[in-house]
């Protein structure tokens, strides 16, 4: 099952969507909502979906609901935590998005896999569910779930926005302050978060400091910030062994 025709990379319309999103995230910065909740609210506004929720799932297996936008999305999170089944559970385990455009007509395999979840979600008025893992390689922080009361897939620009929202939510749950100019911009440095050297350096720093992967990632970002240098440059120095992290420095 493949989605219909997609537009080429970086279409002008999508850039407009993201610019608009970036401005809105800025505008809402003064509000009292937490960053994860603001991301959920923006998803509702930008993705033509009914509601959104974020759950935390740690490597240690701890789980919990971080925020939801409405009663139905709260019910979706609750069902999955209670039943231990559903798209969010699978997304967290596999590290891959789980996209169900229509729960009612989903293939038998899906129905067999989450019988209780589908029954409960359908009863709550859910027709489409899209779960995005909040992951950076082996770093697993949770899942962003969005739902719609009408069936249908996420369109190209919506998928892109949802993936960017998941990236932002992952950083937010790691307690990294994501300003809108970070992940939502077309700036080359902001995008460099996901360049390969950064992940290699994360593994190196993890060994140098003897800390978990997520902490190593945070330390790397903190160092780049403190030095006022692009993350990818600091990472490249770590990989080239020009820069070492030691426990005493921290």
């Amino acid at each position: 099952m493949l989605e219909a025709n997609r537009a080429p990379l970086s279409g002008a319309a999508e850039t407009d969507i993201l610019d608009g999103w970036a401005r809105q995230l800025d505008d809402s910065a003064a509000e009292h909502d937490s960053v994860p909740r603001r991301i959920c609210l923006l998803c509702v506004r930008m993705l033509s979906i009914t509601g959104a929720g974020i759950s935390m799932v740690t490597n240690a297996g701890n789980r919990g609901v971080v925020c939801t936008t409405d009663d139905v999305s709260a019910r979706i999170e609750d069902l999955q935590l209670t039943l231990g089944e559903g798209p969010c559970v699978d997304a967290a385990q596999s590290g891959t998005p789980v996209l169900i455009p229509d729960l009612i007509t989903a293939d038998d395999i899906v129905v067999d896999r989450w019988p209780a979840f589908i029954e409960g979600a359908a009863a709550a008025g859910v027709r489409a569910v899209f779960a995005f893992p909040l992951r950076i390689g082996a770093i697993n922080v949770g899942v962003l779930d969005v739902y719609r009361s009408e069936p249908g897939p996420l369109l190209e620009g919506q998928l892109r926005a949802a993936l960017l929202a998941a990236d932002a939510a992952a950083l937010a749950l790691l307690h990294i302050d994501t300003a809108s100019d970070d992940l939502f911009s077309d700036d080359a440095d902001a995008r460099s978060t996901y360049q390969l050297q950064v992940h290699q350096a994360t593994g190196i720093v993890q060994v140098q400091l003897g800390v978990p992967t997520e902490e190593a990632f945070l330390m790397l970002r903190a160092r780049a910030f403190a030095l006022g240098r692009p993350l990818v440059d600091v990472a490249t120095d770590v990989v080239a062994r020009r820069l070492r992290f030691s426990v005493e420095d921290q």
């Binding site: 992951r135 994360t202 593994g203």
Partner: protein, 257 residues
């Protein structure tokens, strides 16, 4: 001069046939029930270098966030990775993914104006010609296979056809990976491949630092251990990053007595 000629033997064409046959056997071995996508893609870029005699090859995927992400490269040199990654902004791969048709430049020096930043970086890394073929399924282009040559010779038609065939295998490998429970959507398959590559990078960092080796040696050890122990590359990488397997064991290929 192709790699086939360097190897000697009964002649370059014969060698290439032999290599091609070996590649297909390897692919058949890999494309079994539960293969690892990133492992397959590396096999393909290696085959690309060996069969086509190019200097370097890399595979980039649309990350669906507006960028191209490197998922496989024929070596782990930072310079090559940088040249590949640069193409999120401009370069033959980006043009190839946008248009869905092959793009090639036989002499970067004579044709610098097309992508000035890319051309300069590629030339300073020692490359003179470049070609990109699309990873396409019907109307969809999900990425591109990028090949570099240290000389300014145009790629022969047969080589271009073979490159496209390898790119087609990569597309099938990415999109037809059997999800654990159902037929998955393109977005799911692409994101799976992209995140697997990140885990592998993190694991390489752990191995490189713990065993005092470079990224290439760390990756070679990771792939060798996965093959010898019949494990999926990305699952082994996850165990390395999470400390569930001793990095020394992976580097030397067996448990430390």
């Amino acid at each position: 001069m192709s790699k086939g000629e360097v190897a000697g033997g009964p002649g370059p064409e014969r060698d290439r046939e032999q290599l091609l046959a070996e590649t297909f056997v390897l692919l058949a071995d890999t494309l079994v029930d539960d293969y690892d996508v990133v492992d397959l893609l590396h096999l393909l870029v290696d085959a690309c270098v060996n069969l086509l005699g190019v200097t370097a090859a890399g595979l980039l995927l649309d990350d669906q966030r507006g960028n191209l992400a490197v998922v496989a490269s024929s070596n782990e040199e930072t310079r090559l990775l940088e040249v590949l990654q640069l193409q999120s902004d401009a370069g033959p791969c980006l043009d190839c993914v946008r248009t869905g048709v092959p793009v090639s430049v036989d002499d970067l020096d004579a044709d610098q104006h097309r992508w000035p930043v890319f051309a300069e970086a590629a030339m300073s890394a020692g490359f003179r010609s470049v070609a990109a073929v699309p990873l396409r399924l019907r109307t969809e282009t999900i990425g591109a296979l990028n090949m570099f040559q240290g000389t300014s010779h145009p790629m022969p038609l047969n080589d271009r056809r073979l490159a496209q065939a390898l790119a087609d295998v990569a597309t099938i490998g990415i999109l037809q990976r059997r999800s654990t429970h159902r037929s998955a959507m393109m977005a799911e398959q692409l994101q799976h491949a992209l995140n697997s590559r990140i885990v592998i990078e993190q694991a390489k960092g752990v191995l490189a630092e713990r065993n005092a080796v470079d990224m290439d040696a760390a990756f070679t050890a990771l792939r060798r251990y996965a093959r010898n122990h019949n494990r999926k590359l990305s699952e082994l990488a996850m165990d390395v990053v999470r400390g569930e397997i001793d990095p020394t064991t992976v580097q030397i290929g067996r448990r430390v007595p």
